[in-house]
């Protein structure tokens, strides 16, 4: 039987604490679209996406109405384009980006991910061709998101790929210089990339996935931080319990929406991603959770410990609430998309080094960080290599989404609008890793990758 208190709690979470479903993402395999003719390949891909995702947005809206909970984004992820267009020229790869945008426009989704390549051990010509036009693809489209996996714990780190991504990021920034270098906000460099991630910009439909699948990402930092604030001065075991219970409730809603969307669309349910995804809205912030746990400001000494506990408790609560958990599943700490992180960075409490340490205990990585536009390619490569190493050695996903905002320097800020938010330009170390980066080659896989 329903209890009035339970009803009021749910309604308060949704209306006052920004509880929402961040995304319902449909994964679509493009392997059956392969053709040796570029135009036919584009047509096949457009047809398949628009056919499979035809009812995605309407179904999402209907579920929103039924349960009274906002589903903020409806998205599509596809098989990494480098795998389905391996023999195509860079021109065709660019045309494919426009095809994805056109398909996204037709079905009315918010983002489409999978303009991607997996190059952790080496690159094919197709991978090279795709990466060579990523900057143009991101500049000429609005919803297409790109990701490149440059390392895994099993394969080690492909430093040649990291070097290529350093120049790709710089070029993406330059080509979108008139729009605060927003191209870079749609490009992620990964280690140990998950194949069922519903969140952008890193979503793609992995090779082991079924033809189509529904993955759901929840949100809910506002709900967790309010629950912690209400708990007052309890000890940390009690606090962990409160976070677990809250995460359970949030995830159950994600599971409900995921099963219903999968049923209605006649597509298998894949996973619920447990990540606490913040938004720039006041209160909907992971930094605020850490501050409510007892830090004067996010970035203070103690931040990594708070985040480690938060991340673990969210997983423990969430995992029981869903039949299949996957994707990134951890607290997100993007700077520009989290009002508390922005404030902490602006007041000088949060540095890149602290963020790097935080990424060792949560997903995902150095995310949505704006750095000076005159940062050299090599420094960006060094930043990527450091972050990727944390993922490879700790057998976890890490990623870098960094924006060298053209014409901006420390003290300035860039505004991307919407969920992408506002980023203060953060300082990087001025010393050069050039000789290290120019060595090239691969960093071998760590010894603990040999588990057989």
């Amino acid at each position: 039987m329903l209890d009035t208190r339970d009803i009021l709690e749910t309604i308060q979470m949704i209306r006052e604490e920004n509880l929402d479903i961040r995304t319902v993402t449909m994964g679509i395999s493009l392997f059956d679209c392969v053709s040796d003719d570029g135009n036919r390949l584009c047509d096949n891909i457009y047809d398949k996406i628009t056919r499979k995702a035809e009812h995605l947005v309407a179904t999402g809206q209907d579920i929103e109405k039924k349960y009274g909970i906002p589903i903020v984004n409806k998205r599509v992820s596809v098989t990494p384009i480098s795998l389905v267009a391996g023999n195509m020229s860079p021109d065709v790869f660019l045309k494919l980006a426009h095809t994805l945008q056109r398909a996204a426009d037709t079905v009315g989704i918010n983002f489409i991910g999978g303009y991607s390549a997996l190059v952790h051990k080496g690159m094919t010509q197709g991978d090279r061709n795709l990466i060579s036009v990523i900057p143009e693809a991101l500049a000429e489209t609005q919803m297409v998101c790109s990701s490149v996996n440059v390392a895994t714990t099993k394969a080690g780190i492909n430093m040649d790929a990291i070097r290529l991504m350093g120049s790709t990021i710089k070029r993406a920034a330059a080509l979108t210089a008139d729009r605060n270098s927003i191209g870079c906000a749609k490009l992620v460099v990964f280690a140990n990339v998950p194949e069922d991630n519903p969140f952008m910009a890193g979503a793609f439909h992995g090779v082991g996935e079924p033809d189509t699948v529904i993955n759901v990402g929840v949100s809910g930092p506002g709900v967790v931080s309010s629950a912690i604030a209400r708990a007052g001065d309890c000890d940390l075991s009690t606090l962990a319990d409160i976070i677990k219970k809250t995460a359970f409730k949030i995830t159950r809603v994600g599971q409900l929406v995921a099963s219903e969307a999968a049923d209605r669309l006649g597509v298998p349910f894949g996973i619920v991603d447990l990540s606490l995804a913040p938004t720039p809205a006041v209160g909907d912030s992971v930094a605020l959770i850490l501050e409510n746990m007892g830090l004067e400001s996010c970035g203070a000494h103690g931040t990594t410990a708070c985040l480690a506990m938060l991340n673990d408790a969210v997983k423990k609560g969430g995992v029981m609430a869903s039949s299949h958990v996957g994707g990134l599943s951890g607290a997100f700490i993007p700077v520009s998309e989290d009002a508390g992180m922005i404030t902490a960075a602006k007041r000088g409490a949060l540095s890149i080094e602290k963020l790097e340490a935080m990424t060792a205990v949560c997903s995902v990585g150095l995310d949505m960080i704006a750095v000076p536009g005159d940062t050299s390619e090599e420094v960006i490569c060094g930043l990527i290599a450091d972050e990727i190493s944390i993922g490879v050695v700790n057998t976890k996903t890490t990623a870098v989404r960094v924006i060298p905002a053209v014409g901006k320097t420390v003290g300035d800020e860039v505004d991307f609008g919407g969920l992408l938010g506002t980023a203060p330009i953060m300082a990087l170390r001025p010393y050069s890793p050039e000789r290290f980066i120019h060595r090239g080659g691969r960093i071998p896989a760590p010894i603990h990758s040999l588990k057989n």
Binding site: D3, T4, K65, K66, R252, V253, L256
Partner: protein, 97 residues
């Protein structure tokens, strides 16, 4: 996943706003018009502020559920009331294992 194991589907209708004559009647009339059978009501008035939670059986609803949600919301707006209608499954899923 485990959905609510009830035999009938219900909607939770919450109504809030400044108190005035006939709020319950208006909501009840709308429910009757669209075929929703009211099974439980909990309401209170706190210093002029009206708050009601209504549970209605929606098995014999004469319109799509989403349309029912819109109609009640619109009726609420006309009467300066905030009316939200949600399927009970969201509450069952969240609060019952």
């Amino acid at each position: 996943m485990a959905r609510a194991t009830v035999t009938t589907m219900k909607a939770v209708i919450t109504v809030t706003g400044k108190d005035s004559v006939g709020i319950i009647a208006k909501v009840a009339t709308a429910c009757a018009e669209y075929g929703a059978n009211i099974v439980d009501i909990s309401q209170s008035v706190l210093s002029d502020y009206f708050a009601m939670i209504m549970l209605a059986d929606i098995d014999s609803l004469r319109v799509e559920f989403s349309e029912f949600v819109d109609k009640l919301e619109a009726m609420g707006k006309e009467n300066k009331l905030d009316i939200h209608t949600m399927h009970e499954d969201i509450f069952n899923t969240m609060h019952h294992i």
